[in-house]
Symmetry: C2
Subunit: 150 residues, 2 copies
Amino acid sequence: MDKHYYPYEDFLTDTKILVEKIDWKFDSIIAIARGGLSLAQLLGEYYNIREVYSINTIGYEDTAKLESVEVFNIPELKYANTVLIVDDIIDSGDTLVKVLQVLRQAYPNVRFRTAALFYKKSAKIAPNWYVQEADKWIEFFWTVDMKRNI
Amino acid sequence: MDKHYYPYEDFLTDTKILVEKIDWKFDSIIAIARGGLSLAQLLGEYYNIREVYSINTIGYEDTAKLESVEVFNIPELKYANTVLIVDDIIDSGDTLVKVLQVLRQAYPNVRFRTAALFYKKSAKIAPNWYVQEADKWIEFFWTVDMKRNI
């Protein structure tokens, strides 16, 4: 698959586009780690939201070649009513489906919506807001810049 | 106090310097949110560590004008032996002192060390590794870039 380098400048541009699209008020942000961490930090600063949390997932291939996802480090949402869940890319959608399921079960009275920079049309779930459709392998700056000589 | 804009390029350069300094092997990373989130993401990718967590703090001024810090969302460290705690800047040191205290109490068998990009000499604790001493107010890119027209 073609690789597409995604530098910080594009990330910044797209995050600005993302906040233009998000027509919803929320009081907390949950980053799906690791992919959503930098995005969550910028959004937390932009919206002046200090309630920025993260959640972890591990994907397993089970015997039937279906991916199963374990979710852990579910943040404590004592005062949250409306939470934006963010990730860099919605790929298969397995992670986001499971994260939503676990969070909705843990917090039935909290409303969750989702945002991502990239979304693959083949994913089983679409985020509420996204910026670009991904048809290539995205090399995010946080993955490659530390290994590049620039 | 003078303000010093700290762009992504400087962050990348300093993070490269930081990993040169860190002469320790660790299996997990905890970001102090929000400040340490982007740094934790880059380090997690660089070291190929998927166990990247976050922890939250709230600072209160109590009546005696001493800052007291509440720590919450303590990550589950089932398999961790050695954990690097990261933040953008060690300012007063109150947050780091309290985070270390809470984590060491929760996980007496886990070894914790600390890293930051900036450190103020007046802080009550120094991180194990840092890159720059801070004598100005640092305007990190994640705080200001979303509001700048670039």
